[in-house]
């Protein structure tokens, strides 16, 4: 028995060792995209290029960046393929991407104001993504909640305890959503909206995928998501709907050749394929449901398919990527310290504010109304004002992550200040709202 096991084990080891050395005509794709999408591309590319093998290496975007940084040149995967443009920026700055111009025709330079391809040539837009709202129709029916249309709808008391969103520090797509709201409404008003939405939220999920997943299975009623999450779930049979609010932005999801790749030639070939008409058409698969970057592909799309080029999505916001980039870390850190880590207090304050508003509506009272306005102002005003976000020195503090002790101290004091301030504001707002409710009696 034992020798039999040993023999099996040895055979398995040999078999594995043999496959380890055999792979030559193989292109390795490092991606954060779901399996439906990657296996469709793998199958199509291998069919179009007999004798070549596609090896998919699936990691979350931030883990993918860490992996590329820690792998030695020559052993790296060939292609990096993910949504968040900032991950590509980081990689380009670290010298981990190689310039490559696949020279494909028909792809426009810009979508709205946003460049489809990296102006420096390090990465290319491979698909487009818009941000919107996804909801579970059964959940909304069961809880008698109307379907939302705009971001601004989500601040209404009727949505309290039914929303979910991720955090911009965790998910590049959520960052774009928040930044879209901030750019559409302006810093103060935008944050006020974000804080009220977060106050209505039942969870700030750790991964962007947590939101569509929770909406699909009915844990959450409504989620702020990237379009293909909503569309693919709907096409897979889940009782969900997706809609673009009028203030949405369309930005590209990207693909890039890795500097120091093992098989750069095959990598180029894969990128070229992904941008070709055949590669773009794969995006229309119901289980993938992404927006192609090549306009002509939309002619093959099923009726009702959103077309960012055809005016079916009204993207009112001209996304300013430079502004977004300049305050990227401030927005992420502020969101985490004022919302993610203080979510309990924010929700508690929001709850009593809603309750007080109901009571005051039934029994109007000037004193109570004044208190409630004060409570709202306290709870829903960002702890950092806009002038600060234009301060170069302030922004530089966030940009540099390799900090010495003195800078780290400065940073820590700031984080502590934000967190404490936010908590005090929420607690005080809750107290004021309680007084307002009492005044209505």
């Amino acid at each position: 028995m034992q020798s039999f096991l040993a023999a099996r084990l040895a055979a398995a080891i040999l078999a594995l060792a043999a496959t380890g050395t055999a792979a030559q005509q193989q292109v390795t794709i490092l991606t954060s995209f779901p399996k439906e999408l990657t296996s469709a591309y793998k199958a199509a590319f291998e069919r179009a290029n007999p004798g070549m093998r596609v090896e998919i290496l699936n990691k979350g975007t931030s883990a993918g960046v860490a992996y590329l940084r820690e792998t030695r040149a020559g052993d790296r995967p060939d292609v990096f393929w993910a949504s968040a443009p900032d991950a590509f920026e980081v990689l380009a700055k670290d010298g981990l991407l190689a310039k490559f111009d696949p020279a494909v025709k028909g792809i426009p330079d810009k979508i709205g104001n946003y460049p489809v391809n990296d102006p420096q040539g390090f990465y290319r837009g491979q698909a487009l993504a818009g941000y919107g709202l996804m909801w579970n129709t059964r959940y909304l029916a069961a809880n008698k909640v109307p379907a939302p249309k705009e971001w601004a709808d989500l601040v209404k008391p009727v949505y309290f305890g039914h929303l979910a969103t991720s955090s911009p520090s965790r998910s590049g797509t959520t960052h774009l959503t928040i930044e879209t709201i901030l750019q559409a409404e302006g810093w103060e008003k935008g944050w006020s909206q974000v804080l009220q939405i977060a106050g209505n939220a039942v969870a700030i999920t750790e991964r962007s995928f947590g939101v569509p997943d929770g909406v699909s299975n009915g844990q959450f009623g409504i989620g702020l998501v990237i379009d293909f999450f909503g569309l693919a779930a709907k096409n897979s049979g889940f009782p969900v709907e997706f809609a673009y609010p009028s203030q949405t932005a369309i930005v590209p999801a990207n693909i890039a050749l890795v500097n120091g790749a093992k098989n750069a030639d095959l990598g180029r070939r894969f990128i070229q394929f992904s941008l070709s008409p055949a590669g773009q058409e794969l995006l229309l698969d119901p289980k993938i449901s992404r927006l192609p970057v090549l306009p002509e592909t939309y002619r093959k799309a099923p009726a009702g398919y959103p077309d960012p080029y055809g005016g079916k999505i009204r993207a009112k916001v001209n996304f300013d990527s430079e502004l977004s980039e300049s305050r990227y870390f401030v927005v992420s850190a502020l969101f985490d310290h004022a919302i993610t880590f203080r979510h309990k207090e924010l929700v508690a304050a929001t709850r009593v504010i809603h309750e007080a508003a109901v009571k005051l509506a039934a029994k109007p009272n000037a004193q109570g109304q004044r208190l409630l306005t004060e409570a709202r102002a306290l709870a829903f005003t960002p702890v950092v004002d806009e002038t600060k976000t234009r301060d170069k020195g302030f922004l530089a503090l966030f940009r540099e992550t390799k900090r010495d002790a003195a800078r780290q101290k400065q940073m820590t004091a700031l984080e502590e200040h934000w967190g404490k301030q936010a908590r005090q504001n929420y607690d005080k707002a809750a107290a004021l709202a309680r007084q307002a409710a009492a005044a209505a009696k």
Binding site: A66, N136, R138, S169, R170, P212
Partner: protein, 579 residues
């Protein structure tokens, strides 16, 4: 064969007064130390030195000051302690009666319970938590039923409560496994004497049985505490961020891999785990738990009185229902196409399984290869360390124990990054293949990371083997190595097997390190596949199906290994009866 008698020096190390050790022991200790230094300490140091250095490389303690200045960190610290402590209390309440009933009473299905008790461990924490959301979450089946029938819901999955609930059901087997092994090893004569002297029931348990099984309990409880203290997956799935491990992870992955506070947290996690281990060792020190006669096979099992049987079965069925609920959730998920806001899935299908068997058989064999080898290495090293620490006087032997224990507290992300950094240019001797591109890296990573589990079990097992049994063997002419091989190891078999099983199944569900170290999908183990499939927007069915396959296979393995040990015990017992 008469040499040991003529040369008493050979047994001298057994004598507590002597300060000598043999060269062979020192060589084994050195080899283990070298292994741990290369594959644990060094990779970890390359990462966590960030916590105590300036970017220019000079040393500083200022980052620790920064850490304690943040009220968020102080709150997270308190929350982590609270959750870990509460989980130990609740896990004890579940595990102690289960262990006692199954080991001490004639009871149908005891082996079933032992096997089922292991089941929670073979599910990646994030998968268990996801399944429990479907059943106990705010729109889960239970709350839908409660809402329809009684008009209220139980927010049992919200916040810290939810973490404690999930962790308790996930980790109580650590106590169950270790405590059962310890109970089975207690000399039945002790219990019988106590009974003859008139003790029974609760008193017998409290005064005799439990104190004798204490090493097993403490080993299990300290493991639960540490595991919960550093667990990342469960809080993240439940969206709880204000705890230490999630804070470390969030900082390292979002602020940046160079963020010092994240590494200060890692530092604190490591320190705390070592303190918890040292604390449990200090607590046990100076007490004698060893019993002379080993009674595993011969231990008399008592019959349950009718009212006891009702209580016991009631308790067991209740606990089993709770424990099996995540499995039930995963099973339903694996058979469903769409499950949304209904009590059970509305569209059933077997497609998910065909997807898994079409695409992922390689992952299944990979898991068995990596985790099997890792667990094997773990029990070999674990037994060696336990023996060196408890039975020899090799200088610095305690440090082997401490070093191995550090792995417990290492967040997988840190060790994963440490491996990528340290072995970037390392090639495997003779083949010239990059170590990081080979499957060996998984075996090494799992061995190091799961060694503490095996070590705790081996330690507890060895503590219960009385020194005089080994001395007797040596006095009868066996060499020391032979005495270990023929007497000590067989007597430790239950504990070693428990260690193997725990190492194997926890390695099989390791995820954070696995994601970082996977360089090709063809090398990936099942845990990676489950993670990948569970991220699918078209439904998590295939991920659940792969999870069910994992559960069934590991459960089968555990069951068979229990049978194997039981059979061997019986065999030895028969041999002993022969004239």
């Amino acid at each position: 064969m008469s040499a040991p008698l003529a040369a008493p020096g050979a047994v001298a190390p057994l004598n507590a007064e002597a300060g000598r050790w043999s060269a062979g022991q020192a060589a084994v200790a050195l080899a283990i130390a070298a292994f741990l230094l290369a594959f644990l300490i060094w990779p970890v140091l390359t990462v966590i030195r960030v916590a105590v250095t300036e970017p220019d490389g000079s040393l500083t303690l200022s980052h620790f000051g920064s850490f304690f200045q943040l009220s968020l960190m102080r709150e997270s610290f308190a929350n982590s302690l609270y959750v870990a402590g509460m989980t130990v209390v609740l896990a004890t309440l579940i595990a102690v009666p289960l262990a006692y009933i199954t080991v001490r009473f004639r009871f149908r299905g005891a082996i079933l319970i032992q096997t089922l008790g292991v089941l929670p461990l073979i599910m990646p924490a994030f998968m268990g938590a996801a399944a429990m959301q479907l059943l106990f979450g705010r729109s889960g089946s239970v709350n839908q039923l409660l809402g329809q029938w009684f008009g209220f819901t139980l927010p049992i999955m919200e916040g810290l409560k939810g973490v404690i609930f999930v962790e308790t059901l996930h980790y109580f087997p650590f106590i169950l496994l270790n405590l059962s092994a310890a109970l089975a090893n207690i000399d039945s004569a002790m219990e019988e004497s106590a009974q003859n002297l008139g003790a029974s029931g609760w008193r017998l348990f409290r005064r005799i049985v439990f104190p004798l099984a204490l090493p097993g309990y403490v080993a299990g409880a300290s493991l639960v505490f540490i595991k919960v203290f550093d667990d990342l997956g469960t809080p993240l799935v439940l969206n709880v961020t204000n705890m230490l491990a999630p804070q470390a992870y969030l900082r390292v992955t979002s602020i940046g891999i160079e963020d010092p506070i994240g590494y200060v947290i890692c530092f604190i996690l490591v320190g705390f785990s070592i303190a918890a281990m040292a604390g449990s060792a200090a607590f046990l020190r100076g007490r004698d738990f060893a019993t002379l006669q080993r009674g595993a096979a011969a231990a008399p099992r008592r019959d349950l009185r009718p009212w006891q049987a009702v209580l016991a079965y009631g308790w067991i069925v209740g606990v089993l229902l709770l424990v099996l609920s995540p499995h039930l959730g995963i099973l339903m998920l694996s058979l469903s196409k769409v499950w949304s806001f209904t009590l059970v899935p509305e569209i059933w299908t077997l497609d998910n399984y065909s997807v898994v068997f079409r695409d992922s058989t390689r992952m299944i064999t990979n898991t068995f290869l990596y985790c099997g080898l890792a667990a094997l290495l773990d029990v070999v090293i674990g037994t060696a360390i336990a023996y060196l620490v408890l039975r020899t006087r090799v200088p610095g032997r305690q440090w082997l124990d401490h070093m191995a224990t550090v792995a417990l507290a290492m967040p997988g992300v840190v060790l994963g990054i440490g491996y990528l950094r340290t072995f970037r240019d390392t090639e495997i001797p003779f083949t010239g293949e990059a170590l990081l591109g080979s499957w060996l890296i998984f075996v090494l990573a799992y061995t190091v990371r799961r060694l503490p589990y095996a070590l705790r079990s081996c330690n507890a097992a060895l503590q219960q083997v009385h020194l005089s049994l080994e001395e007797a063997a040596q006095n009868l002419g066996a060499s020391r190595a032979r005495a270990i091989w023929r007497v000590v190891v067989p007597l430790m078999a239950g504990g070693i097997l428990a260690g193997f099983v725990t190492s194997f199944i926890t390695a099989a569900v390791e995820i954070s390190e696995t994601i970082l170290l996977t360089s090709r999908e063809s090398l990936a183990p099942m845990s990676y596949g489950i993670y990948l499939y569970m991220q699918s927007i078209a439904g998590r069915g295939p991920g659940a199906a792969l999870g069910v396959v994992a559960i069934v296979m590991v459960a089968l393995g555990t069951y068979l290994s229990h049978r194997f040990v039981a059979a061997r015990h019986a065999q030895q017992f028969m041999k002993g009866q022969r004239p």
